[in-house]
């Protein structure tokens, strides 16, 4: 699920069907009208398959008849699995020990392509084009680790290479839409980067005073959904250097 990438993949996929007809360079191949999850999701839909992650397994359900999901393969993916991001015919899995890339060419039976290991931390991942963006954070659940935004060159899927590592405060979910990359900074707010040069994200705005957990950029309408401890916020990002708050639904806790 996930994210953003909307632009490319999902949007297309997703939305194309139903609600609008967006998408210029979509590449994902699934027909129909899937929704878009945040980068922290562990459920994802690709075509006629639903993928789910639990603590140590990736499970595949055949949903070619949507009202009758049928369980299929169960693949052991190790421990500390955090997030699932389908992109084109690949599945990107964020885990406490790094990013795993599965080839999903045979959608009923994903196979491991590579593992980009780094320090132990929690790390959601989103993908656009030849690059994956990964946040790493420290904290109790994530064991030790660092607070970073990593840019990973995935042109060679067998050998992902980190090309940039940007220090962050306490990053969580993230989303990318074209040249805009949005990163939740937990209690520290929301950061916006320009990724026109994907290897070199440039911070263009930093919104403090909001607690953020995850984001979904809806490229149709340029609306950014942001969740956090205190509210569900929506921003207009048609000018990505100057996000405009559209609404907030308070969240109790």
């Amino acid at each position: 699920m996930r994210n953003n990438v909307l632009m490319n993949a999902l949007a297309v996929v997703a939305v194309a069907g139903l609600f609008h007809s967006c998408a210029e360079d979509g590449n994902s191949a699934s027909p129909g009208t899937n929704g878009i999850g945040g980068s922290m999701a562990r459920f994802a839909i690709g075509g006629d398959h639903l993928y789910t992650l639990d603590n140590n397994s990736l499970r595949v359900f055949d949903i070619s008849q949507p009202d009758n999901p049928v369980p299929g393969a169960k693949i052991s993916v190790g421990t500390g699995i955090e997030t699932l991001f389908p992109y084109q015919d690949k599945l990107f899995i964020g885990s406490r020990s790094g990013m795993l890339i599965y080839d999903n060419g045979n959608p009923g039976q994903p196979t491991l392509l590579s593992r980009y290991a780094h320090v132990e931390s929690c790390d959601p991942v989103v993908v656009q084009g030849d690059y994956a963006y990964v946040t790493l954070r420290d904290g109790t659940f994530c064991r030790s680790g660092s607070n970073l935004l990593d840019v990973v060159d995935i042109r060679n899927l067998q050998n992902p290479v980190v090309v940039r590592s940007i220090p962050m405060q306490h990053p969580h979910g993230l989303g990318v839409d074209g040249k805009n990359l949005f990163v939740s900074e937990g209690a520290h707010g929301l950061k916006v980067f320009n990724v026109a040069d994907p290897r070199n994200p440039v911070q263009t705005q930093y919104i403090t005073g909001v607690k953020t957990y995850d984001v979904i950029p809806l490229n149709e309408g340029k609306v950014l959904l942001v969740t956090g401890q205190d509210g569900l916020y929506q921003y207009d990002y048609s000018d990505a250097t100057q996000l405009k708050l559209l609404s907030k639904i308070p969240i109790a806790h």
């Binding site: 899937n34 949903i63 969740t227």
Partner: protein, 176 residues
């Protein structure tokens, strides 16, 4: 304070007694930790639309067309009509005990419902219908997400574990 004293006393007693005999009334070990929140099978399967309610303990989000779904951790899904992002409307709450994750294809929403996967017809979010349930497809929660903590061991005869709550435990036998 009282707890700490009791803990100290217990630890002292343990040392004196030469280890942990949980049966020994004087040797109770009391410590902070987590205990499982159980739900009966019948209660777990009560997946139903309810009136909209205030957002609380928000987890994951999911966007689909004019709707935004916001998970309330282990409780279910708030359905937001987001046709106008400047004025989103909270229109329903889908009660799904033990829910954390969702995905949607067309009119069908897939959700974890504790250890089960359910497929829901959401054409009318204020009156969802369970299309299919696949029982026990996900592992039972046998331990809390936190590490380095004590917890009461799971007793599967008491129902399905849908979460963990902080608690003062007496003689907890599980730790991770």
């Amino acid at each position: 304070m009282k707890n700490s004293l009791r803990l100290l006393a217990s630890l002292g007693a343990m040392i004196l007694l030469g280890a942990c005999d949980p049966e020994s009334p004087a040797g109770d070990v009391v410590r902070e930790g987590y205990r499982p929140v159980y739900l009966s099978r019948a209660a777990l399967q009560e997946v139903i639309s309810a009136a909209p309610r205030e957002l609380k303990d928000a987890g994951k989000i999911y966007a689909l067309g004019e709707y935004v779904f916001v998970n309330e951790i282990n409780q279910g899904i708030h359905v937001i009509n987001n046709q106008n992002p400047a004025n989103p409307r909270n229109v329903a709450f889908i009660r799904i005990p033990g829910n954390v994750d969702i995905a949607v294809k067309g009119n069908v929403l897939y959700a974890d419902n504790g250890p089960d996967l359910v497929a829901l017809d959401i054409r009318n979010p204020t009156d969802v219908k369970v299309l299919k349930r696949i029982s026990n497809v996900f592992p039972n929660q046998m331990y809390p997400p936190q590490t380095g903590v004590s917890f009461d061991c799971v007793d599967n005869s008491r129902g399905v574990v849908i979460g963990w709550e902080k608690a003062t435990l007496t003689n907890p036998k599980c730790r991770r």
